[in-house]
């Protein structure tokens, strides 16, 4: 069901885009978008049979889990002139925690 929902969301995004382009009279861009989508689909099929990635264990490459992002970027975080310096200890701890959370049991393919 989750997979189907993702596919429907993707289709919905495409339709929103298509309607926007038609509404604005940008038929040239609309046509190009269709061809772009067809090309992307073809590449996806080709990639599936091209073999493994250069990096190890990319599940994306094996199982083709493509998750489109939302249609438009949402909340913009504006730059401030004064950026406070990073808390190195906190970031180090975060990075260590993230590394420890990665399961490497089948990660080495010697």
């Amino acid at each position: 069901v989750a997979s189907l929902n993702k596919k429907l969301a993707y289709l919905r995004d495409r339709m929103v885009n298509a309607w926007r382009m038609i509404r604005e009279g940008r038929f040239h861009v609309f046509t190009k978008s269709i061809f772009q989508e067809l090309r992307t689909r073809r590449e996806a099929i080709e990639n599936r049979y091209r073999g493994r990635s250069r990096l190890l264990n990319s599940r994306f490459y094996n199982s083709r889990k493509v998750t489109p992002a939302s249609y438009r970027p949402t909340d913009s975080v504006l730059l401030s002139d004064q950026v406070s310096p990073l808390d190195g200890q906190r970031i180090s701890a975060s990075l260590l925690r993230l590394r420890n959370s990665i399961k490497l049991s089948d990660g080495i393919d010697g």
């Binding site: 990639n47 264990n57 939302s70 975080v77 190195g88 590394r99």
Partner: protein, 714 residues
């Protein structure tokens, strides 16, 4: 505004633009500049085709600034810093401008006091189709030129406010430039204008399109499609990290790198992006974004790469020193390969945290005595390889693991993940490197490619001499990336060519296989003494070298000495000071390792002791083998022999002619510098510099490695 006078600086950036810069400048100087005080500035990114000379010769009024690196954004900053005008126009130079190009901007600025930057209407050169009338985001942080490849229409006849504008042809108000600041040089090129647009708007400035200002662009006339794609995709991540950091993880699956399976470029670009984010945002934001990356990266690029990614970030963000793991499987005895790795470790630990990964006991305490070097005090990590333990071998042998169902060196591979640089100094080709950067040091490829062969996964394949290099090509069909001669440091200030004793020295391990030929040397010396007593009177042969306990070959050597009955000294496991002293005192150096041997395994691949002798004015008479051929120039800095008769003849020549010996000793000394510790250090530090640059995210770009040139503009 239109009636009063304004100053305008036109800045364009060149890189090998000799084919189009002249027509661009001609069109610029032909443009309408009424009420304008025009300054033309060309910033050159290091052209090699005579662009600068052409400009200086044909357009002396143009100010030329030479950039010290090939970076478009930096060039813009240099140009802007070199101008003082009210307005600054930035444009590509694979273009020509319409007569009204400059004047066309001014009404829009006049009508809109908060207009910080204004873009031209850009056509494709020689066509009626548009290149750009502004820039917009389409989706997922991809941007496109508005109107691209479309025919011009009435809706483009009026000034319009834009979200983004292109740097292909824009004019900026000085007060806007002063307020927003310099262009972000980390973008290098492409999307630097999108970034600047966002920053302008963030400061409250408006961006406009001016239909009366027209430019004709060749479009990509100076940039390869491949380079364009690389920077556009890399810089998309930079842009997101800078302005929409919480969207960074979501922007991965829609990236071209991801969709095309170019995961190495994706990995690299994300490193750049996170560094940029850390420079622009607070700790809480950075932590949140890292967590979102932690949630998705293992799935997207694999667990191992994700692990490396977060490890490398620690270095990239300046949170710790670079960590180096050096794997050696036989650090428990003194040999050339161990000395090589020890010197490497000693130099690397001056900058980095170095840890030795060992499969057997390491004789750290002995290293000072053996090699006169202190080894890294920081750490030893012992990882025993059960298979090697079972084999009960003194050193590991690749052949023993070929039949295994699972790679016995996986534990070493796993350990390598904890380091930023993993150096495999064991010569074992089955050890898989998982560190972000890895070096394989090859003294000699012991076997053909076999099961679990992993050397292709290393970033650097370092060979210690030409012999190793040719065998690597033959056996592994690989090209070495670096040649680092072994570091030899046996210089002794007390040595001189004149102050020598009648000693022939041989310094070689007493190898159980007998490949070092000490017995043959003793017999040859015995024959020389019998056949030429007048020439050999007062001479003696000294054999020094390492030995393992209960060495049966050493016993045979001792028996040979007793049999021959001439002046021969045998000194196994001599102290380094004794060895130094013998080098100082000896006149001639003998080396016969590999003589009459056929298999490459039994031949000397370099021969550090020969260089040690040469560093002490000791004339080498050595076997004509691959390693020695690289060191000794026959008849100049020593002699090479093909059989024992030739060894005798060359040695007698030297013993009987002090003048020849003296001249050769001087040349041998001069030749030895090629293989000195200083040269080794210099080359190793250069390799460390480039590796460090990659680890720290400096732009040693994959595409740049392929000699793709970065142009001056798009």
């Amino acid at each position: 505004m239109s009636s009063s006078s304004h100053s305008v600086a036109v800045i364009t950036v060149t890189y090998n633009a000799v084919n189009f810069i002249a027509s661009f400048l001609e069109s610029l100087f032909a443009a309408d500049t009424r009420h304008l005080e025009l300054t033309a500035i060309v910033v050159d990114n290091g052209s090699t085709d005579g662009t600068v000379g052409l400009i200086r010769e044909r357009f002396p009024a143009v100010t030329v600034i030479q950039n010290d690196e090939n970076n478009y954004a930096r060039a813009l900053n240099l140009g802007i810093a070199g101008s003082e005008s009210d307005f600054v126009a930035i444009t590509n130079n694979d273009a020509s401008v319409h007569a009204n190009w400059l004047q066309g901007f001014l009404p829009v600025f006049a009508a809109n006091p908060r207009a910080g930057a204004v873009q031209s209407k850009i056509f494709f050169e020689g066509q009626d189709r548009l290149n750009s009338v502004g820039v917009e985001e389409i989706e997922h942080f991809y941007f496109k030129d508005i109107g691209f490849d479309e025919k011009d229409s009435k809706r483009n006849d009026k000034p319009a406010k834009c979200e983004y504008i292109t740097g292909g042809s824009m004019m900026l108000r000085r007060s806007c430039l002063d307020d927003v600041g310099i262009w972000d040089e980390e973008f290098i090129m492409f999307m630097e204008d999108v970034d600047y647009s966002a920053r302008c708007r963030a400061k409250g400035w408006e961006l406009w399109f001016a239909p009366e200002s027209i430019l004709y662009h060749q479009y990509h006339g100076s940039t390869s499609q491949e380079l364009c794609e690389y920077f556009c995709n890399r810089n998309r991540f930079l842009f997101v990290a800078k302005h929409f950091p919480r969207e960074l993880a979501a922007s991965i699956p829609t990236s071209h790198f991801f969709r095309k399976g170019e995961f190495d470029l994706l990995y690299r670009s994300l490193l750049h992006a996170v560094r940029k984010m850390a420079a622009c945002h607070d700790t809480e934001t950075v932590e949140a974004v890292l967590q979102s990356l932690g949630d998705c990266l293992p799935e997207y690029i694999g667990e191992v790469s994700a692990y490396s990614f977060f490890l490398q970030l620690e270095v990239l963000l300046g949170l710790r020193k670079i960590r180096v793991g050096i794997y050696g499987d036989a650090e428990h005895f003194a040999d050339e390969e161990q000395q090589y790795v020890a010197q490497m470790a000693a130099i690397m630990q001056e900058r980095y945290d170095v840890t030795f990964i060992c499969s057997s006991d390491i004789a750290f305490a002995s290293y000072k005595e053996w090699f006169d070097r202190e080894l890294p005090p920081r750490g030893i990590k012992m990882i025993q390889i059960p298979l090697l333990e079972e084999c009960n071998r003194y050193t590991s042998n690749e052949a023993t693991v070929l039949r295994e169902k699972q790679n016995p060196f996986d534990s070493i591979a796993r350990a390598s993940l904890e380091y930023d640089i993993f150096v495999n100094g064991s010569n074992l080709s089955q050890v898989k490197p998982l560190a972000p950067n890895s070096w394989f040091v090859c003294h000699f490829p012991d076997h053909e490619r076999g099961h679990y062969f992993q050397v292709e996964d290393y970033d650097q394949l370092i060979i210690s001499g030409n012999d190793a290099g040719s065998l690597v090509k033959k056996r592994w069909s690989m090209e070495p990336t670096q040649k680092l001669y072994p570091p030899v440091n046996m210089y002794n200030a007390a040595s001189s060519a004149q102050k020598k004793e009648q000693i022939i020295l041989s310094a070689c391990r007493f190898d159980m296989s007998g490949s070092k030929k000490q017995i043959e040397l003793i017999r040859t010396f015995g024959q020389m003494c019998k056949e030429h007593p007048e020439k050999t009177v007062g001479w003696r042969l000294v054999l020094i070298g390492g030995s393992i306990p209960e060495n049966t070959y050493l016993d045979e050597v001792r028996r040979a000495k007793e049999t021959v009955g001439v002046s021969v000294e045998i000194m196994p496991n001599a102290q380094v000071q004794d060895i130094r002293d013998y080098y100082r005192r000896s006149s001639i150096f003998w080396h016969a390792c590999g003589l009459d041997e056929e298999g490459p395994e039994r031949v000397e691949h370099f021969g550090m002791t020969t260089v040690e002798a040469m560093q002490n004015y000791c004339v080498p008479v050595v076997v004509d083998g691959p390693g020695q051929r690289e060191i000794v120039e026959h008849g100049a800095s020593g002699f090479r022999f093909g059989d024992l008769e030739a060894l005798k003849a060359h040695s007698l020549t030297l013993m009987d002619n002090p003048g020849i010996r003296l001249a050769m000793a001087q040349k041998a000394f001069a030749r030895s510098h090629l293989f000195s510790l200083e040269v080794f250090r210099e080359q190793l530090e250069s390799l460390m510099d480039s590796t460090e640059a990659e680890l720290l995210g400096c732009d040693v770009l994959p595409l740049a490695r392929e000699n793709l040139q970065m142009p001056g503009g798009d």
